[in-house]
Symmetry: C2
Subunit: 335 residues, 2 copies
DNA sequence: GTGAAAGCGCTAACAC
DNA sequence: GTGTTAGCGCTTTCAC
């Protein structure tokens, strides 16, 4: 129950003023080498740690950033967040991770909470809609990943979803299938881009059955979703000649499709060929291992953290900096 | 670039003192209904939000808790953390999630950072060793999940790992295999309990080959780990009669074992039977789907958050409260 | 029922 | 090179 030791205490013990201790800690302003040693010794002896709340209040910055992620259970997002968090940790920022569960109400609540905590910056990943930073009172820099900001001063980092969709669709075409796009119901900039790439590649081969919307209420991995996918697959088989060629919106969805296909005794890639998107960790645990479009999460994480840190340090908005990152096809067992 | 509006501003605009505004916001102390309405209206109009840094500084509590997790990329942990975070969110606490990557140095750095941020409590999940809260200067309540605290005043919540190991080993025995335990190198209370359960069930059938240690440096899902597992499996096949019976320390490890077995053209569950531990989301994406020991993450998350909140609100240490949660076998396709 | 004032722990201007 | 002072935004005694 020992109360935490403060800068005043350190000052008193070392026989200097709090200001001097502060100078030593932050290594700014002038002080003698002798003072430095004296103070440092006391700090170490008492295991003193700066109270970041007080410091944050005083400096009007918290050295904390917030991340809004749509779904931590998705291995693509958890891997991405892990990398981002790691970047910030090495730059001495702490990170508050918020799982919005793709729920707009929860997201807004989180953003207000983060703002009240005086976060210095925000990373907002994907989700259903455009991100509208006008919910923010202060002007905190925002970097959006995979989700177009409505505010033109927010930075935007994204894989080239259009390109990825084109590559995937072409691969499906080359494998002599009639491609079908499976997506979860909802809108987002990445979804729209992929749909566009899909459509543009298919052109006259596009039919009303080419895009299949999966209910968003059924959670990834749940029996409900698998049931729904099974029904959709069975449906499709009645209408199309085998092999079916599926472009799945995400690896998670692809993984669920694989299990659904198994339930129907469809062989992959014999009866059914499938390409995912993300190259999430789960892709390598599927059987057959999932052919997919690789997103470079390391690059995304790096770009996002660099841009945000730059914006925070220069105390300005993220200069509407758009970064588009290339993707590529990873051939595994499902095509 | 508008500066954030403060309680003083609200006070000035409403024509009352900051003290009164504070009373209204926190609904404590006395004030007239008329004042309440007046102030509330101004707060809403200006979208005022309490600065939690200042409040935290003043009240010596931050309404923030920290979670130390060994590996966010592991679907068991990400699912667990997601549930914990959700619990705290609904109780108006925010959560700083820290991925220690099972690195003790990083973990200590995180704990110091969290302490400097004046977190009101800490949840520490699993990891390599016992958790030693003596690195903490202040007396902040700690709840350990799956990891025995060395400090007797810290609470401990855990699945019954011993029981789980017994159940798994018995199932393997009943399937007429000679059980082998695969684990990642390292110590932890959960590892030790499972080993004990394994040994106690095996008794005289225990041999020097019964426990296989996998190098901890090779990351889950990596090619290096799979290579290592392949070597180990091949080795084992030379010595033992089929079918082999593997009790894998975690579902992640089990999943890697399944892919390694595939590379060796071993059929599961024909040549090789395998039982995992956790019932992580990944278990249902394996092929065959993984038979495993189910840990009740919802219960763990609930127990952990309740105990921590209780300790924080009553401003005392978590009363050395040990909660052991039952586990059970989930039969799927690998046994 | 409300206001004035002090102080949480820190840093930055200003003095000397 | 170092100390004094003010103030970040909030809550909470203590007056009245």
């Amino acid at each position: 129950m020992t109360k935490k030791i403060s800068i005043k205490d350190i000052a008193a013990i070392s026989g200097v003023s709090p200001a001097t201790v502060s100078r030593v800690i932050n290594n700014n302003g002038r002080f003698s080498e002798q003072t430095r040693q004296k103070v440092t010794k006391v700090i170490e002896k008492y295991n003193y740690q700066t109270n970041t709340l007080a410091k944050g209040l005083r400096m009007q910055k918290s050295n904390t950033i917030g991340i809004i992620v749509p779904d931590l259970a998705n291995t693509f997002f958890s891997a991405l967040v892990e990398k981002i968090e790691n970047q910030f940790f090495s730059k001495n920022y702490s990170t508050i991770i918020c799982d919005s569960k793709r729920n707009i109400t929860k997201e807004i609540a989180y953003i207000q909470m983060l703002e009240a905590k005086s976060v210095d910056g925000l990373i907002v990943i994907s989700g259903q809609k455009m991100f509208d930073s006008s919910t923010l009172n202060r002007a905190v820099p925002v970097v959006c990943i995979d989700r177009k900001p409505s505010n033109k001063t927010d930075a935007f980092i994204s894989s080239n979803h259009y390109q990825g969709a084109v590559i995937a669709t072409q691969a499906l075409l080359e494998a002599k299938t009639q491609p079908v796009l499976f997506k979860v119901h909802g809108q987002s900039s990445s979804i729209n881009d992929r749909i566009q790439g899909f459509k543009d590649t298919l052109q006259q081969n596009l039919t009303t059955d080419s895009i299949i919307d999966i209910s968003a209420t059924n959670q990834a991995g749940s029996n409900e979703r698998r049931l729904e996918l099974r029904t959709q697959l069975r449906n499709l088989m009645g209408k199309q000649t085998l092999p079916l060629g599926i472009f799945a919106y995400s690896d998670t969805l692809a993984a669920d499709l694989i299990t659904a296909a198994r339930d129907l005794n469809l062989s992959i890639p014999g009866d059914l060929k499938i390409i995912g998107f993300d190259d999430a960790p789960i892709a390598k645990y599927c059987y057959p291992e999932l052919t997919t479009i690789h997103q470079d999460t390391s690059k995304i994480a790096l770009a996002a953290s660099q841009q945000l840190i730059d914006a925070m340090q220069n105390n300005r908005q993220t200069a509407a900096n758009n970064t588009i990152i290339n993707v590529h096809l990873v051939k595994r067992g499902t095509v």
